[in-house]
Symmetry: C2
Subunit: 426 residues, 2 copies
């Protein structure tokens, strides 16, 4: 079908605000591993999508989906092994205090229940996030999107702290004092909530600060911030929707690199390799307290098919040693990106966490002022070259790369070559 | 595996509050058509589950799932035919004013976006539901569960009106005046919202009043109520999560029997035959207005696999003439239930809408006082006889039956026979 005709029909049936990538939207028809193909047969290296975590259409995951879907798919008010096996396996990958699981279908739903748990547990409403956070699209979760979600404009029960960014830092604060500075922002927000009578319920962060631009937080910040949270009786919620399932390579969950133990962890995107599956991993006492307070039943969540898919994703991650690959291939890409930084002045900072990369584009390296417009040009140029990447950050000046986990050395070279050509052609 | 061991492991991994059906929970391992099997090989006639709408593990739906899952599963920021084809086909089944679709993964998510749309459109907060409603489990949607969801206790922006029940009626109100009486309750709630400064945003109802006990509303109530809503500038949201996709037989959507046109319709449960898929069907101007106000992107929703599954469900409904079957088999069941009513005094009322049935159990037929405890006994007796049904209603005295749509005459006879035996054995 003609792409423009399809686009016109889409606008009519879905409205014109449903977001699309690229100046010239891509019409994809096939995916396999780290590759996708458009309707004209052109192949693209996927360096953006983390949802097809173990690779597009991984045969092992598809097989698990189809096998279980042809035998039984029903809800959790009947007993079934799959949900129990999967919950046990998942929780075994966390600190022993995080012993229980609750399932949902999307990251928004997982964050919804985490917020309900924290607010019920504390009897208070105040949630602290970063001032560039996005955690989902329900009303209560939209309130966390302090930068651009309209529900956040009027809420009194969410406060955004500055992004704890060791690259840009804070004027007048020495680098070695940054962790304390940002942790103090958390402490002050807690105090404000208490003074305002709203009270403090919890701190909710993506430990990778993915939507904030994959920032490197000052070492020690997380530990200090979570200490303030716990001293005030609040909960620490780690949103691992982007950073989880071994993305960072050294750990299954990105908070595990930070010497903190969350009270609640939310999971999503990569969990079912594209199948709608999310979860909350939580202290058993908190889940019990929540369950006494509110009935929670989710018609689709935790069904035998979803759990079979989730289990297959864990199988593939382990058997194909994809965490190790994230470390190894991640290092190759990171090294290459830093070489590009040496050659291209606008690359102010390169950040890497396993197979997750960010390149911050700046006006000049001293001021670190965001370079407007160029990241968008680069991702469109990259797309024409057959490589899919994206951009992020409040100034849209940070390139975001986050490929499926089987990304290999050859893929890395293709990515680096294409990036070099694009930066050289600017 | 031993069922008690599985139950103990489940309690440990998922907590003890995750709901289970029956005194002796069922451990299901297989499903096909209207049948499910437990781990011991015992077969059960499924007269409860509406999620496996066209039958458990329907081969056509499983085939659509597997075919697309092995080719491409990605999000809606790329173009794909499936979402466009599906949105066009779905909206074609509605009034022409309901021309656009938005997808989500659960009924809760669909209702979330409907509430956000209505509140944004009106600039007001007040939502009217029935006082026995349940529409989902996110914070904002939990507030609608005025009877038992804890979030509803403190909210000021939801009001429950009495269930518009033509069976029990209202003391001192003549039957022919009931529609006006209940519609006036809506009008008064609107006025209260305005007086309180909260303002009125919309009326949200399941047009089948499924969770309220599949009540028969006084003829004309819906039309009168929706007129009040529109006169006050509010929106009418029809929650078709239970009543949609031809359940009632004569119509695709249960509101279509009521001479009303909603502004927003939410869809869920049967939509993907168990695959997590839900949607909002909405006036194009409202979707556009919402899209200008808030970015909405749902990572999983509307992906090519989900849309292929949704399309297959529509195909099967049409090709197997399941709406016609709902009318025909539904009439047989209804006739049989009324025969049971003639023989068993505690059956105060029998209600049927296609393949959806309710039997209200009463202390005596004059007072219509709810009969406590017996519905629970009956569903457990039925389960032992190999027939799955459930109960509903604020007094837990209403038997709820809602089988997969291919339910046939033989299935009907088995159901009726088993019910007769249970009522006789009380």
């Amino acid at each position: 079908m003609n792409k423009h005709e399809l686009l016109a029909r889409r606008h009519k049936a879905l409205g014109s605000h449903s977001p699309l990538f690229y100046e010239e939207p891509l019409h994809l028809v096939k995916g396999q591993g780290v590759w996708v193909w458009d309707a004209s047969g052109k192949r693209y290296l996927d360096v953006y999508n983390n949802v097809p975590h173990v690779g597009h259409c991984h045969p092992r995951v598809v097989e698990a989906l189809c096998s279980q879907a042809s035998v039984l798919n029903t809800h959790t008010r009947y007993l079934h092994e799959n949900i129990v096996n999967y919950a046990e396996r998942l929780t075994s990958l966390f600190d022993s205090s995080l012993a229980t699981a609750m399932f949902a279908c999307t990251g928004s739903e997982a964050n919804e229940q985490a917020l309900r748990m924290a607010r019920h547990h504390t009897g208070k409403q105040g949630i602290i996030v970063t001032d560039s956070a996005y955690h989902g699209n329900t009303e209560a979760v939209s309130e966390l999107g302090t930068e651009f979600m309209p529900d956040a404009v009027t809420t009194k029960r969410v406060k955004g702290i500055p992004i704890p960014d060791s690259y840009k830092g804070v004027e007048g604060v020495a680098p070695e004092d940054l962790a304390d500075h940002y942790a103090t922002c958390v402490k002050l927000a807690i105090e404000e909530f208490e003074e305002e009578g709203i009270g403090f319920a919890g701190l909710l962060l993506c430990p990778e600060f993915a939507n904030e631009g994959l920032v490197n937080v000052p070492p020690g910040f997380m530990e200090k911030a979570v200490t303030h949270v716990h001293q005030a009786g609040g909960l620490f919620i780690a949103d691992e929707v982007q950073g989880g399932f071994g993305r960072t390579g050294y750990h299954w969950w990105s908070h595990q690199g930070e010497n903190v133990v969350p009270d609640i962890v939310t999971l999503g995107k990569p969990m079912g390799n594209g199948h709608p599956l999310s979860g909350v991993i939580v202290r058993a006492d908190l889940l019990d307290e929540f369950g006494q307070w509110s009935m929670y039943f989710n018609t689709f969540a935790g069904n035998p098919v979803s759990c079979a898919v989730g289990m297959a994703v864990l199988d593939v991650l382990e058997e194909e040693q994809l965490l190790q690959n994230s470390v190894q291939t991640g290092a190759i890409v990171a090294q290459g990106l830093r070489k590009l930084q040496n050659r291209h002045e606008i690359i102010g900072d390169v950040r890497d966490k396993g197979l997750f990369f960010a390149m911050e584009l700046v006006e000049d390296r001293n001021s670190k002022a965001p370079l407007a417009g160029v990241a968008g040009r680069i991702i469109n140029m990259m797309c024409k070259k057959g490589v899919l990447i994206s951009k992020i950050g409040r100034n849209d000046n940070i390139l975001k790369m986050r490929p499926p986990m089987p990304f290999n050395k050859d893929n890395a070279e293709q990515l680096l070559q294409a990036l070099d050509e694009c930066f050289s052609a600017l």
